[in-house]
Structures are given as C-alpha cells and as structure tokens.
C-alpha cells in the first residue's frame, strides 16, 4: 500500500495519512455493504464523503494543487451535508421502513466484495504505475470503491439504498480522479456537482410520486404489479 519509488523523496507522513484515509474509505464501502439500516447507510455515506474530502484536502495542501480545494468544498457541502440531510428528511417524511433487505445473503455479498477488491487492484496496477501523482497507489482502492458501490446497488431492493449506492459510486470515481490526476478540470467538476444536485432534487420529487402511487418504497412492489 505504501507508495515508494519516485515519491520517496517527498516527506512521507502526510502520504501515510492519505493512505490511512483511503483504507478507511474502503472499510466504509464494506460497512455500507453490510449495513442493514437505512439511517446507518446514510451516515456511512456522509462519513465516506468526509473521508474523501479530508484526503483530497491533504493532497491539495501538500502538493500545492489549490484547485482541488474547490472540489473539497463541493464534496463537503453536497455529499457530507446537503444530501445526507435531505435523505434523512426523506426517510422521516415518507416514513420509510428502516430495514434495507438485501437480495443476497450477507456472507455471500461480503465474499463477492472481496473478489471485487482483488479484481480492482489487478485492473488498477498497470495504470497506477503510469500515474505521476503522489497518491497513485490508492487508485486500486478507488476502483474497489466503485465496484463495491455497484455491487451494493444491484443487491438492494429498495429505492433509497440503490441511490446511496449510486452516490457512493460517484465518490469512488472522484477519488480515482484525485489519485490518478489530481482531479478533473474545474468546469467539469462544477458541472458534475450541478448534475448531482439536480439529480438529488429530481429524486426527491420522484420519491413523493412513488410514495403516492405505491405506498411503499420497496421496488419489489413494482415488480408485483406486473403479475396482476
């Protein structure tokens, strides 16, 4: 995990922190896979955003990539504060049931997760060798986060956990962008943030529509409709 070689001359302690945060990110991704409560899932998502923001901020300061600070601010504002708050509100207002109900059983999901992590590290290896950034070794973790969030999306039956999985995937992609290239150009990051914000807004409206029609947020209810 610890990066060596070209970055060896840079004082290593802040890299240790970044690597620690990256490990934390992976841990949170696994915790999200295991989480059975919606409320727990939302707070894990907020923590994931926080870990992402802190690690990006450290990289920004120590490598003097000041434009990354905008992305830190966006992450803090959107993914740590606004979106989790909005989700909590939705859960309370819509009175959603608090259990997540995964499709696969627990241990099988976890095992699949481990396989995905190994796959992600293999996939990232040739690319991270090419990257010139100090935190290139975390690229594997970023890819693993993307794949784990994807796994979470497809093994959940309810609307909100699926969306949280989707947002966590976006976190993973941003972490990958920071690890490989110190983030995307600013206009693109702003545009993506705008899309996320609009997406969450659309989703809010949409949840109320689903609620009015189905009286539950369980997507299996939609499936059942077909059988009638």
């Amino acid at each position: 995990m610890i990066s060596t070689g070209a970055s060896g001359m840079i004082s290593g302690w802040y890299l240790q922190i970044v690597n620690l945060l990256a490990a934390l990110l992976l841990l949170i991704s696994f915790a999200m896979l295991a989480q059975r409560r919606v409320a727990g899932l939302i707070s894990l998502f907020a923590w994931q955003g926080a870990a992402l923001a802190v690690s990006t901020a450290i990289v920004a300061v120590f490598t003097a990539q000041w434009h990354l600070l905008y992305s830190v601010a966006l992450t803090l504002l959107l993914k740590v504060m606004i979106i989790p708050w909005f989700f909590y509100r939705l859960v309370r207002k819509l009175g959603m049931s608090r259990d997540v109900e995964p499709l696969l059983n627990h241990s099988l999901t976890m095992l699949t997760g481990i396989v995905l992590v190994i796959f992600a590290f293999n996939l990232a290896l040739p690319i991270s060798q090419m990257a010139g950034t100090v935190m290139r070794s975390t690229l594997g973790i970023a890819m693993a986060c993307v794949l784990l969030s994807f796994l979470m999306m497809i093994t959940r039956t309810k609307a909100l956990p699926q969306v949280i999985g989707f947002m966590a995937m976006e976190n993973g992609i941003f972490f990958a962008a920071t690890s490989a290239t110190y983030g995307m150009p600013l206009v693109v990051e702003l545009g993506v943030a705008l899309d996320v914000l609009v997406g969450v807004f659309v989703l809010g409206i949409f949840f109320f529509q689903i609620r009015e029609t189905f009286e539950s947020m369980d997507l299996r209810q939609m499936e059942k409709r077909k059988e009638h």
């Binding site: 690319i127 290239t181 150009p185 993506v192 609009v198 989703l203 409206i205 949409f206």
Partner: protein, 483 residues
C-alpha cells in the same frame, strides 16, 4: 453569436415556460422557441458549411461537418415535435390524463432537454459532453413519469437508475481519458478539449485509452440502448407521453452515439488498431439480432417501435464499427433517416393510441377507415422504417449490408435474418392496425399530420435524390470520423 443564440433560446424558453407553462398559449410558445432555435441552427449550419470547421469562444465550443448536421437534425425534430405536441397534449388534457400544472413541467423540461442535447453536440470539452448528457437524462426523468401511473413510475425509475449507472461508467472513462491526456497536454481545462486531443491522439497512452474506451462504450452505450444495456429503453418509450418517445428515440439516442464516435476517433488514433471498431460491431450486431426477435413478442405498439429503435441504433453502431468511407457515410445517413422516420411514426402512433384509448395493438384497428391521414401516415412511416425502397432508410441499409458483405461476410446472414424478422413482425401488426374494420371514436382536436408528412417527404427525398450539398456534407463528416 449564433452559437449563443442556439444554446440560449431554449434555456430562456425553459425559464419562461416554467412561469407561463400552464397558461393558454404555452404550447404555442413552446413551438415558437423551438422554431427560433431551428433558425439559429440553420444559420449556424450555413456558416459552418461555407467557412469549414470553426472553434468558438477560445476553443470551448467546436463545430465541424459532423456535429453541425446533428445540430440541424436535433433542432428540426425538436421543432416538429413541438408542433405535434400542441394538439397531442391538448387531447391528453381533454381526456383528463394531465393537469395544467404538469403541462408547465412538461414544457419547461422539454426546452431544457433540447438545450442539453445542443450543448452536448456543440461543446468541445469531453467533460462537459458528459455533464450535458446526464443533464438531458435528468430533464426527461420526470417527463417519463408524467402520467404518474405505476407503470410510468417504474419506467422512470428504471430510466433514472440504469442510465445513472451507465453514465457513471462513462464518467470513469472520461477520467481515464483525462489521465492519458494530462501527460501530453498538461493539467487544466485544455486537456479535455476534443480539438486538442485530436491533434495529439497518436501520443496518448494506448493501454489507458483502451480501458477508457471500454468504460465509455458501456456508459454511453447504455444511453444508445445497445443490448444488453437496453432494458430501460422500451419502458421509457412506452410509458412516457408520445412527444417524449419521439425525441428520445429520434434525438437522444443519436446524441449518445455521437459521444461514442467522438471518443472512438481519439482511441483509434492512439491505438492504431481496430479494437474500438470491433467492439462496436459486436455490440451493434447483437443489438440488431436480439431486438428484432424481441419485436415479435410485443403487444404494445410503442414498445414495438422502441425495440425497432434498438435495432436501428445497433445497425448504425455496426456501420460505424466497420469504418471505411461507405459504411460511415451510410451510418450518418441512417442516423438522419431513422430520426426523421421514427419520430414521424411516434407522431401517428400517438394519435392512434389516443383514438383507441389503449396502446395495445389488438385494440387499434382500421385507422384508414376513420382517419385516412393517420392511416397513410402510419403505413408509409412503417414502410419507410422497414427499409422499403424508395425511402432513405433503404439506401442506408443497402449500403450497410453490401459493405458488410464485402468486408465482414460472416455478419451478413445475421443482418439479413434480423431485418427479415423485424419486417415480418412489424408489417403484420401495422397492416391490421391500418386496414381492419373498426368503430373507434373521433378525436376532440384535429390531429397534427403536418410534421408526419414533412418528415416522410424529407426521408423520401433523401432516398430518391439526395441534394449534392448534403452528400458532400456527409462525406466531410465521414472523413472527420477517420474514414
């Protein structure tokens, strides 16, 4: 200036309609804004045709033969669909399926959707291309669920989540593209500008671009509706209001394919191999075959034509994958004629379902008897989309199939069988809908037949006597795509 007009008019229209969209003249305003957008698009096209490729605003926007023709097509179909949606939505309101408040949302989102697609086509920045593709999706999610029926909500949810996941893959692909570009062009906004990337494409790291293209193809391919990523498409087309089915099928799928093609040019340059082309041929052929067999099983008319869209998008993807001057020319022509024909079909199908009060094909009978215009529109549109000569679809499909015979003989039987199956399935159904006996009631408002016949005449002209300037234009675009 023209470009700002093109992008600004629909945005201003969206804002105004957000305030005004439920009043009496909202539908007319929607038509007016779409018409002004079309005027700007035509003016821009004339300018680009005269002066050649040009950059705007310090390289942020870029126009060449390839995207300016899609801009023109998007603005044209956007305008005719607005024309169609005026009586269509009025009838929906009269039938009590919609309230005025929802019409406001509909009109505003329609303009945002057009603006997002035009931005995706004109931007030079591959990141902004991604942002506007996602924007176009978000603008239409609430339109798919406009009727608030359980089926519509399910369709919208599928559309939101599946396209969301797909587009996230494309974002990852874009990150990888930036990663490769940054090494050559340096960090910052310029490294994602397509013109800059195109200039240095031979120096981009091949391994990274290879991986990037897989993600980009899967991501944008979800929006194109390529099998096996297509499952959102029939639902979204069947459950949303028909004008939205027409623009999704005719325009959004094209814009997503455009995004893939822009990336393919870069990847081809970097790899120097046929990998991207082969991937596209595989996905394309699979889509053609699977979709044409699924067409047979449909009982809902809008779903049937949605599967037909998957088939045709597969056909184009296959053509672009083959590469070479003729195949790319045919692919571009097919993009045009498919957009025009399929939206015309959705216009007639929309009115036919309103008349019958159902989307089930068994309930729609004898259109020719009660409304000859509608009957002829559907019959001619169907013949056109099935590739009956002399319509333009025949020309493009003929070119694609003959090129496949020359260069990839193994693929030809698959294509021919698929085309035959689709022909038999669709023609059989449509014949009964048009000619059988019926006792369906009249519609409360006059159906909009002008856009239908306008589109069909254009497709006919493209099939019989394509104007020289257009052929030159397609050839230029094909050249830009590396043919």
């Amino acid at each position: 200036m023209l470009l700002y007009g093109l992008l600004g008019v629909p945005l201003v229209g969206a804002l105004l309609l957000l305030v005004w969209g439920h009043r009496r003249l909202a539908a007319e305003m929607n038509v007016l804004f779409s018409f002004i957008t079309l005027l700007f698009a035509v003016a821009l096209a004339v300018r680009v045709m005269r002066a050649g490729p040009m950059e705007f605003d310090g390289g942020w926007f870029f126009m060449d033969a390839f995207n300016v023709f899609l801009v023109g097509l998007t603005a044209l179909v956007g305008f005719t669909t607005a024309l169609f949606s005026r009586p269509y939505m009025r009838i929906e309101c009269a039938h009590g399926r919609l309230t005025m408040v929802r019409l406001r949302l509909y009109h505003a989102s329609y303009q945002v959707f057009i603006a997002a697609m035009l931005l995706a086509l004109t931007t030079n920045n591959m990141g902004i291309l991604w942002v506007s593709m996602e924007g176009a999706t978000l603008a239409t999610v609430l339109l798919v669920s406009l009727y608030r029926t359980p089926a519509a909500l399910e369709a919208a949810w599928k559309y939101f989540i599946l396209c969301g996941v797909g587009i996230a893959q494309a974002l990852f692909g874009t990150v990888l593209l930036y990663f490769a570009a940054e090494k050559v062009l340096g960090a910052g906004g310029n490294a994602l500008l397509w013109t800059h990337l195109n200039a240095v494409k031979a120096h981009l790291e091949p391994t990274v671009l290879q991986l990037a293209f897989v993600f980009l193809l899967v991501g944008y391919g979800t929006k194109v509706g390529l099998v096996p990523l297509h499952s959102w498409l029939p639902d979204a087309h069947a459950e949303g209001p028909t004008p939205i089915s027409a623009v999704l099928s005719g325009l959004l799928l094209n814009v997503a394919l455009y995004a893939i093609l822009r990336n393919k040019v870069l990847v081809d340059g970097a790899l120097g191999t046929q990998l991207a082309g082969h991937l596209m041929m595989g996905f394309g052929l699979l889509s053609v075959v699977v979709a044409s067999f699924l067409i047979r099983q449909q009982s809902d008319v809008k779903r049937m034509f949605a599967y037909s869209s998957i088939e045709h998008m597969g056909m184009m993807t296959f053509a672009f994958g083959m590469g070479g001057a003729v195949a790319v020319f045919a692919g571009l022509l097919h993009m045009t004629v498919h957009a025009l024909t399929k939206s015309a079909i959705f216009f007639t199908v929309g009115h036919a379902t309103q008349k019958a009060g159902t989307q089930l094909m068994s309930g729609i009978r004898g259109l020719m008897g009660i409304n000859p215009g509608l009957g002829w529109g559907l019959m001619l549109g169907t013949m056109s989309i099935l590739g009956v000569p002399p319509f333009g679809v025949f020309t493009s499909e003929f070119l694609i199939v003959t090129t496949a015979m020359h260069e990839h003989g193994w693929a030809t039987p698959f294509l021919l069988v698929a085309l035959g199956v689709a022909f038999a399935a669709i023609f059989g159904q449509v014949q009964a809908m048009v000619f059988a006996e019926t006792s369906l009631p009249r519609l409360p408002h006059q159906p909009a037949m002008t856009p239908v016949f306008l589109h069909l005449v254009l497709v006919l002209v493209l099939g019989i006597a394509m104007p020289d300037w257009l052929a030159v234009w397609y050839r230029q675009a094909a050249h830009l795509l590396g043919a």
